[in-house]
C-alpha cells in the first residue's frame, strides 16, 4: 500500500539523530569550519554513543557502516510488515544521516569509525577480516591525481611479493585519511587488465610506506580532513586484500563498484540534510521579513520569496522521495542502481542550488559568517561531486535507461 511517510518505527531514531545534530553538530559547526585540520574532539564521545546505540540496535545503523549491510539483493535485516514491505537499515540510514547532516555534514563525514572504508569492509570483507578490522576507523583511497572519476585509469599498483602486497602510487581526496586507523586503497594487480584487476587493500595508517603528502584546504566540509598520500613500497599482508584475489573480468570490478550503489543514497541523504537546514533557516528569516507562505494560493500569485521558497521545497521533496525510494528498494532486495543514481543526481544538484538561493534570499544574513547559510552553500557543493559527480550519475542513469555500455556512452 502506497505510503511515503516516514515510518513511525523510525521516529525515535530520527529524533535521536536530530538531538545529536542540535546538541553536538550545530554548536561545533562554525568552530571547525574555521579551525580546518583540527580534530573535532567532541566527536569521540559521540562515536562511542553511536557505537553503543548501533550495538543495541537503537539507531538501526546511523553511520555509513550500517547502510551497506543490506541492499542490492542481499537479505534485508528487518522483518516485513503486514503489507509485505520492509523498512530496514537502508531507510533508517538515509533518515538518520539526513538528520545528522541537518546539523553538520563535515562533522558527520569525520565521525570516528564511520568512514567510507568501513562501508567497503562491511560490504566485501570476509569473516576473518571483519573480526580483525572490527572497531577500527577506515578511510577510503580511490582517486588519483590523473584519474578523477575514471576508476579504470587507476595507476597505483599492487604486486604480490611472498606473503605481502607491495603498493606503489599516489592517492588524493582521502576523507579522514590522516585520522583513520585504516585506509582501504584501490590498486591494480595488473594495469594491462583494466578494471577487472582493481582490488582494494586495507593499509594500516601507521604503515611506514604510507606517507601523508598534505591535507587539503577546502571550500567546505572543513571539519572533515581530506588527505593526499604517497604509497611507496607500502607492504601489506596478503590477507589484507578485500574480496577475491583473482582477476575475474567483470565480476571483480563489480564488487568494488557495488559500494557506490550503496553509498549514493547516503550522499543524497547528506544533501537533503543540508538543504533542509537551509530551508528552515530561510523560512524563519523570511517570516521575520514579513513573508508568509500559503500552500493553497498558486505560487505565482504570491510574493517572489514565497514562490521561490515553494519551488525549492518542491525540488527538495522530489529529491527526498527519490532518496527514500532508493533506500526502500535496497531494504526490499530490489536492484536500485538506477534509483540510487537518480537520487544522488537530483539531491546533489538540488542541495547546492537551494543553498545558494537561500543565501541570496537572506541577503547579508545569508552571505555573512554570522549565520550558517553561507557555510551550507559551501558544504553542499561537495555532495554534487564526490561519490560520483552529477555527470557520472547522469551517465549511469542514461546507460541503464538506454541499455548502453560504458564504451558506447562515454
Amino acid at each position: 500500500m502506497i505510503n511515503l511517510e516516514v515510518p513511525k518505527k523510525f521516529a525515535v531514531l530520527v529524533s535521536q539523530a536530530h538531538q545529536m545534530a542540535v546538541e553536538v553538530m550545530r554548536p561545533n559547526s562554525r568552530k571547525y569550519d574555521r579551525a580546518e585540520h583540527t580534530y573535532p574532539k567532541e566527536l569521540d564521545m559521540l562515536a562511542a554513543l553511536i557505537k553503543g546505540m548501533n550495538e543495541s540496535g537503537a539507531l538501526g545503523g546511523a553511520g555509513a557502516t550500517g547502510a551497506t549491510r543490506s541492499g542490492n539483493g542481499t537479505a534485508p535485516s528487518s522483518s516485513p510488515g503486514r503489507s509485505g514491505t520492509r523498512n530496514g537499515s537502508n531507510l533508517a540510514n538515509v533518515l538518520s544521516i539526513a538528520e545528522v547532516c541537518w546539523g553538520d555534514v563535515g562533522l558527520l563525514l569525520t565521525m570516528p569509525g564511520q568512514g567510507l572504508g568501513n562501508a567497503a569492509i562491511a560490504a566485501v570483507a570476509n569473516e576473518e577480516q571483519m573480526k580483525r578490522f572490527a572497531g577500527k576507523w577506515a578511510a577510503m583511497a580511490i582517486t588519483e591525481p590523473e584519474a578523477g572519476s575514471d576508476s579504470a585509469a587507476i595507476r597505483t599498483t599492487a604486486k604480490l611479493e611472498g606473503d605481502e602486497y607491495v603498493l606503489d602510487g599516489e592517492k588524493i581526496f582521502v576523507t579522514s585519511g590522516d585520522r583513520a586507523d585504516l585506509i582501504v586503497v584501490w590498486a591494480s594487480l595488473d594495469r594491462s587488465q583494466g578494471r577487472a584487476a582493481i582490488k582494494s587493500f586495507v593499509v594500516e595508517r601507521n604503515n611506514p610506506g604510507l606517507k601523508l603528502d598534505r591535507l587539503e584546504h577546502k571550500l567546505g566540509i572543513r571539519a572533515s580532513d581530506t588527505a593526499n598520500f604517497v604509497l611507496s613500497d607500502c607492504r601489506v599482508p596478503r590477507e589484507n586484500l578485500l574480496g577475491s584475489p583473482e582477476i575475474e573480468p567483470k565480476q571483480g570490478f563489480a564488487g568494488v563498484m557495488q559500494t557506490f550503489d550503496n553509498t549514493r543514497p547516503l550522499v543524497a541523504a547528506m544533501a537533503l540534510g543540508v538543504a533542509r537546514a537551509c530551508l528552515e533557516e530561510t523560512r524563519d528569516r523570511l517570516t521575520e521579513a514579513g513573508v508568509s507562505i500559503d500552500y493553497d494560493a498558486p505560487a505565482l500569485s504570491q510574493s517572489a520569496a514565497a514562490a521561490e521558497f515553494i519551488t525549492m521545497e518542491a525540488d527538495y521533496e522530489a529529491a527526498r522521495l527519490l532518496t527514500l525510494q532508493a533506500a526502500w528498494m535496497a531494504d526490499n532486495g530490489k536492484p536500485n542502481s538506477l534509483q540510487a543514481s537518480m537520487a544522488k543526481a537530483k539531491a546533489g544538484r538540488v542541495g547546492t542550488d537551494i543553498a545558494l538561493r537561500c543565501v541570496a534570499l537572506c541577503g547579508s544574513v545569508g552571505y555573512g559568517e554570522g549565520e550558517l547559510l553561507e557555510k551550507w552553500a559551501r558544504d553542499a557543493k561537495i555532495l554534487d561531486i564526490f561519490e560520483g559527480t552529477q555527470q557520472i550519475q547522469l551517465l549511469v542513469v542514461a546507460r541503464l535507461l538506454l541499455g548502453k555500455s560504458s564504451s558506447e556512452l562515454k
Binding site: 514491505t85 521545497e313 522521495l321 547522469l394
Partner: protein, 444 residues
C-alpha cells in the same frame, strides 16, 4: 472462456468484487486483446452496448431517498514506507493503461485536431467504470475503499495514452467523486445513480476563470443569496472539459458573505451560455467557456454548506489529479524518446551515444520520477486523512516546472521531427503545459 473459479474468487475478495464485475462487463477490455492468459479471466463475454443519445432529455431526480450521505471507507494505513500499490490498484491501473495505450493513443491525433473525443471512446471509457471509482459501493460504486492513490494511478495510466482524452474521460468522474465525498443524502440520491448507470452524463467541475494569475481562492464568479435560501450565480468559467455537451456542472463560486464554495448546476437551469474554447493542448477534452448570467439555483445546489475546508480539499485534490496526468504524459514522452534516440543515427552512430542527448533522457527520467513520488505522497496523505495542502502544492509546482521542461525536451530530442504531427511529442509539448495552468476539472 472458462474461468478458474477459485482464483477468481480469491482475487475478487481481495480486490473488490464490483470493480471486477464492472471490468468483466466491459466490452472494451476484451476487444483490446492485450491481456496475457493469466489475466484474461477477468473479462467476461463481450457485451454489445447499444445506446441512444439520452442527454437531451435527461432529468436528474432521486429514485430513492437516503437517510444520510454515504461515504467510502478509507484503507487503514500500515505505517510503513511502501511504494507497492495494492493488488486492486495494480490491476485497475494496468487495465486502464492497456486501454489508454490501445485506444486513446491511436485516437489522440484526430481527437486533438477535432477538439472532440470520439463518442464511442467516451462510451468505452464509461464502461471502464471511471465514474464509479470514487462512489461508495452502497450507491453502486466500483471500489470498496476511498483512495486518492487509486485515482492517481488510474489518471496517470490514462494520460499515458493521451492527456486530452484522459481529461475527457475523467471529467464526469470528478463530479461523481465530489458528490460522493461531500454531497448530502439528497444530492447523492439525485445525481449519483446517473454516474453508476449505463449512460454516464457529460459532467464537469468548473473552477478556472479566464484571467492571468488566477487563484481559485479568489473567485470572480459569485453566488448571491436570494429569497428562500436560493442562490443566483454569475460569472465565467474557462477551459471546462466537455462544456458544450455538459449536462451537469459543479461550479466554484464566491458565496456572498462566506467564501469560495461549490454549487451543483444543471445545464437545464437556463441562463447558461456555453461556447467552445479550444486551447493549446488537451484539445480532445473539448474545453469550453461557461457564462452564467444570473442563473437561479435552488438551496440544494450548495455543496457541504459551503464549508471552506471542503472547497480547499477540492482544489487540492484537483491539483494532485493534474500532477498525475503530467506524470502519465511525461512517462509517454520518456517511453517514446528512448527508442527514438537509440534508433536515430547522426554522424555515424545513434544519437543516444551523445552525452547531451543521453543526459536529457536522464533528466526527463529523474524529474519525472520525482514528480511521480511527490504526487503519490500527496494522494497518500489525503487517503490517510493527513493534511496535504503543502504536498499538493509541491506536486503542482513540480508539474508546472518540470512537466513543461519534459514536454519541451521531448520535442527537442526529435529535432525537426519533433515539430511535426507525425510524432506525438508535439502534442505532449502542448498538453504538458496544462499542468501549470489548469485548476479544478478533475479530482482524485
Amino acid at each position: 472462456m472458462s474461468r478458474p473459479p477459485q482464483t477468481l474468487s480469491d482475487r475478487s475478495m481481495a480486490i473488490g468484487l464490483r470493480a471486477l464485475n464492472r471490468f468483466a462487463g466491459s466490452s472494451v477490455v476484451d476487444r483490446l486483446g492485450l491481456r496475457d492468459p493469466a489475466e484474461r479471466f477477468l473479462y467476461g463475454a463481450s457485451k454489445t452496448t447499444v445506446r441512444t443519445a439520452a442527454s437531451a432529455g435527461r432529468t436528474f431526480a432521486a429514485a430513492q431517498k437516503l437517510a444520510k450521505p454515504v461515504r467510502q471507507p478509507t484503507i487503514p494505513p500500515t505505517g510503513l514506507f511502501d511504494l507497492t500499490p495494492t493488488d486492486e490498484q495494480r490491476m485497475l491501473s494496468e487495465s486502464v493503461r492497456d486501454f489508454a495505450l490501445a485506444r486513446l493513443r491511436p485516437a489522440a491525433l484526430e481527437a486533438d485536431a477535432a477538439c472532440q473525443a470520439p463518442p464511442e471512446l467516451l462510451t468505452q471509457s464509461d464502461d471502464l467504470g471511471l465514474t464509479m471509482i470514487g462512489v461508495p459501493e452502497e450507491l453502486g460504486g466500483a471500489v470498496s475503499e476511498r483512495s486518492s492513490v487509486t485515482a492517481v494511478l488510474m489518471s496517470e495510466a490514462l494520460a499515458q495514452g493521451d492527456m486530452g482524452l484522459a481529461v475527457a474521460c475523467l471529467a464526469p468522474a470528478a463530479v461523481s467523486t465530489a458528490l460522493s465525498l461531500w454531497g448530502d443524502e439528497d444530492q447523492q440520491a439525485t445525481y449519483l445513480p446517473e454516474f453508476v448507470g449505463e449512460q454516464i452524463p457529460a459532467a464537469s467541475l468548473a473552477v478556472l476563470e479566464p484571467r492571468a494569475l488566477f487563484d481559485p481562492f479568489r473567485l470572480e464568479t459569485r453566488a448571491r443569496r436570494s429569497g428562500g435560501g436560493r442562490y443566483v450565480l454569475s460569472g465565467v468559467k474557462s477551459l471546462v472539459p466537455r462544456a458544450v455537451d455538459g449536462e451537469l456542472f459543479i461550479v466554484a463560486a464566491e458565496l456572498e458573505g462566506s467564501g469560495p464554495a461549490l454549487f451543483i448546476v444543471e445545464r437545464s437551469a437556463g441562463s447558461i451560455s456555453v461556447e467552445p474554447e479550444p486551447a493549446m493542448g488537451i484539445r480532445a477534452a473539448a474545453t469550453g467557456r461557461l457564462v452564467f448570467s444570473d442563473v437561479e439555483l435552488p438551496p440544494s445546489a450548495l455543496i457541504a454548506a459551503g464549508r471552506p475546508e471542503v472547497y480547499a480539499e477540492c482544489i487540492q485534490l484537483g491539483r494532485i489529479a493534474w500532477s498525475a496526468l503530467a506524470v502519465g504524459t511525461g512517462q509517454a514522452v520518456l517511453d517514446y524518446v528512448i527508442p527514438y534516440v537509440k534508433d536515430r543515427t547522426a554522424f555515424g552512430e545513434p544519437i543516444a551515444n551523445r552525452q547531451a542527448v543521453a543526459f536529457a533522457v536522464s533528466n526527463i527520467a529523474i524529474e519525472l520520477d520525482g514528480l511521480r513520488l511527490t504526487t503519490y505522497r500527496a494522494a497518500s496523505r489525503a487517503d490517510q486523512g493527513k493534511r496535504f495542502a503543502r504536498e499538493a502544492a509541491l506536486a503542482r509546482r513540480l508539474a508546472s516546472e518540470h512537466a513543461m521542461a519534459i514536454g519541451s525536451e521531448g520535442v527537442q530530442l526529435l529535432g525537426g521531427h519533433g515539430y511535426v504531427k507525425e510524432h506525438p511529442v508535439e502534442r505532449w509539448y502542448r498538453d504538458l503545459r496544462a499542468a501549470g495552468v489548469m485548476e479544478g476539472a478533475l479530482l482524485v
